[in-house]
């Protein structure tokens, strides 16, 4: 973004702004994750699997976890393939939302 709404070198101005935005989002997450660290994810995964296994049989390979960090909210999406008795496999999707800044 330019202070004047225009710039003689828009491309260059834009890439520096992009760099700053990317860093601010990333560092906000890295700092807030702090001591909990991104390492809670393996534990979270194990816990979720344990809960689901109380009700049905699933394999570890059938769990897919995606993360998308944004400036206000991040989304953590956990997809677990559940073997169904029918010919088709059904997929249960459990999108968990966490507010940025909570670690």
């Amino acid at each position: 973004m330019s202070l004047f709404g225009f710039s003689f070198r828009p491309r260059r101005a834009k890439s520096a702004k992009t760099a700053k935005d990317r860093l601010q989002i990333l560092l906000a997450h890295e700092r807030s994750d702090g001591s909990a660290g991104p390492d809670y994810l393996p534990l979270l995964q194990a816990d979720i699997l344990a809960v689901i296994r109380k009700y049905m049989e699933i394999k570890e390979d059938e769990v897919d976890i995606q993360m998308e960090r944004n400036d206000d909210v991040s989304s953590l999406e956990i997809n677990i393939e559940i073997p169904s008795p029918g010919p088709d496999k059904s997929v249960a999707s459990t999108p968990l939302r966490k507010r940025a800044g909570l670690g």
Partner: protein
Amino acid sequence: MTQLKDKAPLGKVIVITSGKGGVGKTTSAAAIAAALAKRDFKTVVIDFDVGLRNLDMIMGCERRVVFDFINVIQGEARLKQALIRDKRLDTLWILPTSQTRDKDALTKEGVEKVLNELKEQFDYIICDSPAGIERGAQLAMYFADEAVVVTNPEVSSVRDSDRVLGLLASKTKRAEDEGAEVKAQVLVTRLDQRRIDAGEMMTIDDVLEILAVPLLGVIPESTAVLRASNVGMPIVLDEPSAASRGYEAAVARLLGEEVDTQTERDKKPGFFSRLFGAPA
């Protein structure tokens, strides 16, 4: 979907290393991986710089990291879960490293296990080494089939490259098991022709004479590199530049192609053509 070839994947491991820090290893690893993926080789680029994760930023996937190389080594996640697929090229994947742990989290057995699993799925496995010649750098090179030694035309960088070439010839699995050397080639980066012309910077000839290994390519100092890193784009996927042409040519040579030196430089074709021998 990935265009999986009918034949088995090539499973070639290439380490991008240098000794000295900040010479352009991560930039080069991202560029080389993306250039290979553009040519339809299924490629993964791995960050070996544990604790100083940066490859994810250069590749533009820093917001999507969930699990990493260390989680996989320690059995906390499956390889499949830690691999991140590039959003631009469906043949390109990245295996990020941990930002919170240290180099001791890497074990030789763990690295070997992950690399073996990757070899079954990928044509090229590009390892972005940390700086230095300690544990992290040694593990990054240990299982390599080939090495790209990134060098700036500057005394400490060339000296460190020489040291790294020594390690590649002795402290790698190939050197230990088969008595065969890892094929090493030098990639000269951040070359500033004006300073060479002014006699302030060593020429490529000078560097090659000292290191006595084949030249893979020459990447000029270029403002396009900073721009690409700002936006998280491997340089060869961004707008064409002297640097991206340099990387494309280097990758062509990596694949054994004969490269018209005109493609990397518009000026002084004669100057470059005599530096590159016919590919082996």
